[in-house]
């Protein structure tokens, strides 16, 4: 009998997961638009009349009609929803510009910063975790074991300032005045790296320790494997699984980090857009930032979840195979020994017994 999983089941899992993601996204959108657009609706509209914006009465009327402010709240909600689905995020009350235009200008810089920062964070986390677990000396392991909680405790905004102080003003390595694009990226990326790498490193250290305590690692060592072999063939993939989940969850940190970093370094980007929006109470811009980054978070984590069965072969077996109930009170001796945790155990044991 073949135990490969019917493809239909994996489709069901995927559809289920996609549905869940869409639901979360819909609720988040509703929540954010109610809080930021609909409740304070008239107050926002009133601010478009600000003479500094120099909007003509026609333009203001166009915004009113487009955002549905002249109709009921549900109509407003639907208009906002339709707008977001078509890429029309409304207008800034601070500048009168279309939010989508502001986004288009800000996104590339933030993407560059986030990509470099995230890559650095992953590299740092792996290095920290390896030194903390496979370091040759006991003190070395202890030191790197403590690094994640140190990193997590550093105020990111302060770190940015200190880095500017040290590398720009004291050492003069990184020019503050008119730096090259690459040069301008170094310190912000470092600032972003520190808080991002901490949770990743923490999870990696814990999962490496956990995997190393597994009996199969001992069995592999009994086959004569060196530390290097163990790391590559037995530990890496198993320990990477929890870290992957954590990487998805740190996406939120990435957005928060971008806000802080761009503010400290005066970089243009989504983060600076956000902090200006809050300072000016520019709700439409903040709404767009919240909705877009939440969507990005949900999509990234959806992608990771869908990718998971590719890496973790155990998830390819359908949960429907599980036979006996696991929670009906004390199970037999085997249940504790890990033999009963595998879905296919029961039928295969029968085969063994009948052989």
């Amino acid at each position: 009998m073949s135990r490969t999983r019917p493809p239909a089941l994996s489709w069901r899992y995927a559809l289920n997961r996609v549905g869940q993601a869409l639901l979360v996204l819909a609720i988040a959108f509703t929540l954010a638009s109610v809080l930021l657009a609909i409740l304070p609706g008239d107050a926002i509209m009133a601010r478009y009349a600000n003479p500094e914006l120099a909007l003509s009465p026609d333009q203001i009327e166009a915004i009113r009609v487009q955002s549905g402010a002249d109709r009921g709240w549900f109509a407003q909600y639907l208009t906002t929803l339709a707008g977001f689905l078509t890429g029309d995020f409304g207008y800034s009350v601070a500048s009168g510009a279309a939010v989508s235009d502001l986004f288009a200008a800000a996104v590339p810089a933030t993407l560059a910063l986030a990509a470099v920062g995230l890559a650095a964070a992953v590299l740092a986390a792996v290095a920290i975790a390896l030194l903390a677990t496979f370091g040759r000396q006991r003190w070395l392991r202890a030191v790197f074991d403590a690094v994640p909680s140190l990193f997590i405790s550093v105020p990111a905004f302060w770190l940015g300032i200190v880095l500017i102080q040290v590398f720009s003003f004291q050492l003069g390595w990184v020019s503050v005045v008119d730096p090259s694009p690459a040069e301008a990226l170094v310190l912000p990326a470092l600032t972003l790296m520190v808080p991002l790498s901490a949770p990743l490193a923490q999870v990696l250290i814990r999962s490496i320790d956990e995997v190393r305590a597994q009996p199969f690692v001992r069995v592999t060592r009994a086959k004569g494997a060196s530390d290097g072999w163990l790391l590559i063939h037995a530990i890496a993939r198993n320990a990477a699984l929890p870290a992957l989940t954590m990487a998805g969850l740190t996406f939120g940190e990435l957005v928060g980090g971008a806000v802080v970093t761009e503010t400290v370094f005066g970089r243009t980007g989504i983060g600076q857009l956000t902090s200006q929006a809050v300072a000016n109470r520019d709700n439409p811009v903040l709404l767009a930032v919240v909705v877009v980054s939440t969507a990005a978070f949900v999509l990234v984590n959806l992608a990771i979840d869908l990718l998971y069965p590719v890496i973790d072969v155990r998830l390819r077996t359908s949960p429907g195979d599980r036979g006996a109930p696991g929670n009906q009170g004390g199970h037999s001796l085997r249940a504790a020994s890990g033999q009963a945790d595998a879905p296919a155990t029961a039928p295969a044991d029968r085969q063994e017994a009948g052989a």
Binding site: L23, P155, F157, Q165, G252, T274, R281
Partner: protein, 267 residues
């Protein structure tokens, strides 16, 4: 039972926390300087015996500002963690013990809270409530709800399935009695350990909001705000930012250490 050996680092962490609490309760015992009025003191003095952390652009003693700022930062952190702990634990308890549709609704709501990046969620709430210490604290607290709710629910589910809970039913205990006597006490100790860990996190988040200008308004000596003000003199007067940042870091590190130690004991 013999108590687990307490490590010196944990003791040091407890000492740091105790000191900061003392700063918050009785700042006058630790400095004679006025945190809000530099008087005739010269501006931008480098650190010295008289002014440990130096003075700022209008002659105020930076150390005094940090000592007096402790009450704001600590109170805000406690409010934030209190909001997260109370609301999150209640939601988690309901979700974990009632199951069914209540669990579905609560856990989806928690998913939503988790999927909005924490800082953006805080900013959204701040923009609605308005700037200020308490509002910033509530905003940070709301972002902590999801974590508390998740942990509490998973603990309740884990403990509810434990053989000793089944055994308690077998011994004739009713649902309410089992919930109060077995499930809640056994579920809560990791949640309390998380609360201690979250205090450090809340201090960081609140100082971040303060730094961005959405928390306590000047001239109140809020920690994040102190760094924001010192930032303008970063090229010449390093002490305005370096010392306050170090203090924040040490305090957060200490709560972290303490929370981790608590978690190990409760595990």
């Amino acid at each position: 039972m013999r108590r687990r050996h307490i490590r010196p680092l944990t003791l040091a962490a407890a000492a740091v926390i105790a000191l900061v609490i003392a700063w918050a309760l009785a700042p006058g015992l630790f400095t004679r300087q006025d945190p809000n009025d530099g008087g005739t003191t010269a501006a931008l003095l480098a650190p010295s015996g008289a002014h440990w952390f130096g003075t700022d652009e209008i002659g105020r003693d930076v150390f005094a500002r940090m000592v007096y700022g402790a009450s704001h930062s600590l109170l805000a952190a406690l409010i934030a963690v209190g909001v997260g702990l109370v609301v999150g634990t209640a939601l988690g308890l309901i979700a974990g013990s009632r199951r069914g549709w209540a669990e579905d609704v609560i856990m989806r709501a928690v998913d939503v809270l988790l999927s909005i990046p924490a800082l953006l969620l805080s900013l959204t709430i701040v923009i609605i409530l308005g700037f200020g210490t308490v509002n910033a604290a509530i905003a940070v607290g709301v972002t902590a709800i999801a974590q508390f709710a998740r942990l509490t629910r998973s603990q309740v589910v884990r403990v509810s399935g434990a053989p000793y809970v089944q055994a308690a039913y077998g011994s004739g205990a009713g649902y309410g009695s089992v919930l109060v006597r077995h499930i809640v006490p056994n579920s809560l100790s990791p949640v309390l350990a998380l609360a201690v860990l979250q205090i450090g996190w809340a201090i960081l988040q609140i100082s971040t909001l303060g730094f961005l200008g959405y928390g306590t308004p000047p001239p109140t000596p809020e920690w994040g705000l102190i760094i924001a003000e010192g930032r303008n003199y970063v090229a010449t007067s390093w002490w305005l930012t370096v010392f306050p940042g170090l203090i924040i870091m040490i305090v957060v590190l200490a709560t972290h250490r303490l929370g981790t130690a608590l978690r190990q004991v409760s595990a």
